[in-house]
C-alpha cells in the first residue's frame, strides 16, 4: 500500500477493509479475540460470585462506551478514544469504593467489560457509516489487558491502607506501561500500513501521543482516587473536564486537517490554469511521501515534504505562458531553477513554512556536484517530479520502466538511492488508488 501521510482517509482512495488486513493487524486481532473469549468464559464462570459489583461494572462499561462514541481524530489519520481509555484503565486500576473495602475482581472481568463497552460505543459509528475502528479498539483492549493482568492480582488492603504515595507510584508505573503497550502496538500497525520503518514509527507515535497519554494517565489516577472517596458518582462528575480537554484536541486536529486540505486544493491552481497536467501535484506528493517514508523520514519532515511536493510547481504561476505539457523536466536547467526559486519565494511569503520553501527552492538542483548539496527532500521531489512528468496518470508498466531507466542513466542529476526506492514504490503503485 502506498499513501500520503494524511491521505489515507480521503474517501476515493479508501480500499476495501479486508484488503488492508495484513500480518500485524491479524496478529493484533487474534490476540484481542483470544483475550475477549477468555474474558467472557472466565467472567461467565464467576458470574455468581459475590465479588462482582455489577453496578461498578455497569458504570465503567457505560463510561467506556461513551468514550468510544466520542473518538478523536488525530493527525495522520489516527484515531484515539481518550475517554474510553480513562474508563477502562481506571476500571483496571480501581482500588476500592467507599464502604465496600478492597475491590476484588478478576482481570478477565475488566477485559470483558471493556470489550462490551467499546463494542457498544462503536455501534453508532458503524451505523453512521464510519469505519468501526477495530484496530484501535484491539490496541486499547490489549493495553488495558496488560495493565489489568498485572494489577488485579496484586490489589490488596495495602493499597488502601498504606500512604497514598505507594498506590500512586505503582499506578503511575502501570499507566505508563499501558501507554507504552498502546504506542508500540500502534506503531507496529502503522509501520505495516504505510511502509515506515518500525523505529521511526515508534518515535512518531510517541511524539504524537505523549500529550494525550499524559492527560489520560493523570485522569486515570484522579478517577481511581476519586472513586475511592466519592464512589462511582465521581465518574459522572469527571466526564465534564475530560470532555473539555477532548474538545481542545478536536479543534487542533480539525484545523490541521483543514490546513492540509487547503494546501492540497490550492496546489491544484497550477492544473486549473493549465500549467501542469491534471493530478500532477497530487501524484508527485504521493510518490515523494512514500519514498521519504521508506528512506526513514519522520512525520514532521514528511509533512514538510508533502507540502513542498504539492506546491513544487507554484512558481510556474509567475510564467507568462504555460510550459507545453507542463513538464518541467523538459525545460533548461536555469529555467527549472528559476521556477523553483519563484515558488520558494511565494511559500516563504507565508512566514511559517520556511522549511517547505527551502525544499521547493532546491528541487531542481542536481544530486551530485552542486554546492551546497540539495536536501534529501528536494532530491526526492526532483526525482518524483521527473518520473511523473514522463509517466503522468498512465498506468502502463512499460512506460514507468522506461521513465525509471531514464532517471537511472543520470545519477549526477537524480540520486541513485532515491531512484532505487522510487522504483520500488512506483512498482507497487495500485492504479485504483492513484
Amino acid at each position: 500500500m502506498t499513501g500520503g501521510t494524511l491521505a489515507e482517509r480521503s474517501a476515493p482512495d479508501r480500499i476495501a477493509y479486508w484488503q488492508a488486513v495484513d500480518s500485524g493487524r491479524l496478529l493484533l486481532m487474534a490476540a484481542a479475540a483470544m483475550l475477549v473469549t477468555a474474558a467472557f468464559a472466565g467472567s461467565a464462570l464467576a458470574i455468581n460470585s459475590h465479588h462482582i459489583n455489577w453496578r461498578a461494572a455497569l458504570a465503567f462499561g457505560g463510561f467506556i462506551a461513551f468514550g468510544e462514541l466520542l473518538r478523536l481524530a488525530l493527525p495522520g489519520g489516527r484515531e484515539a478514544a481518550p475517554i474510553a481509555m480513562v474508563g477502562a484503565m481506571s476500571y483496571a486500576l480501581l482500588m476500592s469504593l467507599p464502604g465496600q473495602g478492597v475491590s476484588r475482581y478478576d482481570a478477565l472481568l475488566v477485559i470483558a467489560v471493556s470489550a462490551i463497552g467499546m463494542t457498544v460505543g462503536a455501534l453508532p459509528h458503524i451505523a453512521a457509516g464510519r469505519s468501526a475502528g477495530l484496530t484501535g479498539m484491539c490496541a486499547r483492549l490489549v493495553a488495558v489487558a496488560c495493565v489489568a493482568f498485572i494489577f488485579r492480582p496484586i490489589v490488596s488492603v495495602r493499597f488502601v491502607d498504606e500512604p497514598w504515595e505507594f498506590a500512586f507510584s505503582i499506578m503511575g508505573l502501570l499507566v505508563l506501561f499501558g501507554w507504552l503497550v498502546e504506542t508500540l502496538v500502534g506503531a507496529l500497525i502503522r509501520a505495516d500500513d504505510v511502509g515506515a520503518r518500525f523505529r521511526v514509527a515508534v518515535r512518531d507515535e510517541a511524539r504524537l501521543q505523549w500529550p494525550l497519554g499524559l492527560a489520560v494517565g493523570a485522569s486515570v489516577i484522579i478517577a481511581v482516587f476519586g472513586a475511592k472517596v466519592l464512589g462511582l458518582m465521581e465518574l459522572a462528575i469527571f466526564i465534564g473536564p475530560l470532555l473539555v480537554t477532548q474538545i481542545a484536541f478536536r479543534r487542533y486536529a480539525a484545523i490541521r486537517a483543514t490546513y492540509l486540505q487547503t494546501v492540497r486544493s490550492l496546489a491544484r491552481v497550477t492544473e486549473v490554469a493549465g500549467y501542469v497536467e491534471a493530478g500532477h501535484s497530487r501524484r508527485v506528493s504521493r510518490l515523494a511521501v512514500a519514498v521519504g517514508r521508506r528512506l526513514g523520514m519522520a512525520e514532521p519532515q514528511l509533512l514538510a515534504l508533502e507540502y513542498a511536493a504539492l506546491m513544487h510547481d507554484i512558481g510556474q504561476l509567475s510564467l507568462r505562458d504555460p510550459i507545453p505539457g507542463g513538464a518541467t523536466v523538459l525545460v533548461s536547467q536555469p529555467d527549472q531553477e528559476q521556477i523553483a526559486h519563484l515558488g520558494a519565494e511565494v511559500i516563504r511569503e507565508a512566514g511559517v513554512l520556511d522549511d517547505v520553501a527551502e525544499l521547493v527552492r532546491c528541487q531542481a538542483w542536481p544530486a551530485r556536484g552542486h554546492d551546497p548539496a540539495p536536501p534529501l527532500g528536494s532530491m526526492i521531489i526532483h526525482a518524483a517530479n521527473a518520473f511523473d512528468d514522463m509517466v503522468g496518470s498512465s498506468t502502463d508498466r512499460d512506460r514507468s520502466v522506461a521513465a525509471l531507466d531514464r532517471l537511472r542513466i543520470d545519477p549526477a542529476t537524480f540520486d541513485p538511492g532515491v531512484v532505487g526506492v522510487l522504483a520500488e514504490v512506483a512498482g507497487r503503485r495500485v492504479p485504483s488508488r492513484l
Binding site: F225, A248, R251, Q261, E349, L353
Partner: protein, 448 residues
Amino acid sequence: MVSRAAWLYISLVVAATTVLVGMTADHLAPIPHPVFALVTLQVLFLVCDSVKTPLTARQTMWSPSSSATLAAVVLLGPLAAALVGATSLISMKRQPRIAERFFNGAMHALSGLAAGEAYLALKGPVGFPHPGHFRFIITAFAAAAAVHVLANHGLIWGIYRLNRGSAELRPEGLESRLPLLLASDLGYACLGLVIASLWEIMWWFSAALVLVPLFVARWAMGQFAEQQRAYAATMNALCQAVETKDYYTRGHGDRVSRGAVMIARQIGMSSDRTEAIRYAGMLHDVGKLGVPTQVLQKTGPLTEDEFAAIQLHPMRGLEIVREIGFLYEALNGIMHHHERIDGCGYPMGLAGHEIPEFARVIAVADAFDSMTSTRSYREAKSLETAVDELRRGAGTQFDPLIVEAFIASLEHETWPLPAPAVKPADLAVVTVQDHDDPTAPLRVVEVP
C-alpha cells in the same frame, strides 16, 4: 480607554465586593490546616489564571481557574472562595490597567462568594466530601457552579456592554462563542469537586495532579491557535501567488476579503461565519486562473465563447476549493458572487434571496474594490463615486441591505485602498477588461 460609565461600574463592583466580603462572618471550615489549603488553592488559581488561552482566533479568553474557586467552596466555605478569587488582583498576567486588575479581583471574589453562599443555602456540607453526603453535595455543588459561571459572565458582560465603543475591550462575537465558553467553564468547574474529594487523601498534591490534564488541554489550545495562524498565513501567500499573474488585480482578494468581513460585522454575522467569509472573499476569484490569458488580454468585444469562459470562472473556483473542509456557505459565496439581484448574473442566474447571503456580500465588496482600483482603461474612481455607483446598482445588481451595511461600515473603518498600480518589469499579464467592474460591463459580440 475606559468609559466613565465603566469606571463607575468597576467602582461599584469593587465596593460591593469589599462590603459583602467584610460582612461575611464566616470562618474557615474545620479541616486540618485550613490556611495551608487556602494558600494552595490560591496558588492553583494563579497558575490557572496565568494559562488563560484564547478560545477562538483572537477574542474570547478561557481560563480553568474556576476549578480552584469551587474547590474552595466545598473545602473551606464562601469566604475562602472569595479570597481565592481575589488573588486575581495579583495575577501575573501583563495587565497595563490597574482598573482591569481591580475589576478582575472583585469579579472573581464576588462570584466565588456568591457560589459559596449558594452552596451553603442548599445545605451543601463544607469540609471533606463524604460519600454519605453525596446527594446534598451534588445538588448544592451544581447550583454553586451554575451561580459561579453566571455571576462571572454576568459581571464581564456588564463591562463589555458599557465599553462597547472602545475597541480594546470589545470581544468580537462573544455572543456566538458563549455556549462553548459556558460549557467549558462548567466542565472545569466540576474539577473543583474532584480536587476537594482528593484533598483528604493527597492534600496539595491533588491540585498539582489536576493541573496535568489542564496543561495538556492548554497545550492543545495553543497548538490550535498556532495552526490557525499558520493556516491564515499560508492561505494569504497562496492567494497572492494566484494574483501575481495580473498586477492590476494584486491584492484584490485580500481587499475583497476585508470588505466582506466589514459587511459581515456590520450585519452581525457570527464569528464562525465571519471567519468563513474572510476566506471566501480571499478565494473568490481563484477560478480566474482557468480563464485563458488571451481572453483576459483582449481589448475588443468578446465572442460568445470567450464570454462563456469568463462566466465559468466561479465554477472553476469552486472546483479548486471544493475539497477544503469549509463551511458549505463559503463555497456558495464563491460560486455565486457574480449573480445579480435582478437575476441577470452568472453562472446560474439566481435572483433576489435565492442568491446565498455570502455571495451577496462578496459581490458588493468585489465591485467596490474593482471600481476603486486603477485599471488599464481607466484611473481608480474616488470612494464617493464608487459609493454612488453601488447605490445606483442597489436593487438591480446588489442587495440594497448589504450595500447600506457596507456604506455604514465605511464610516467607522478605513477602506484599504490599493497602492497605485505601477507596471513592474516582471512577467505579469495585464487584464484589459475587468469582469468585476460594474461601470464597464464586458462587451460581447452581437450574434446576428
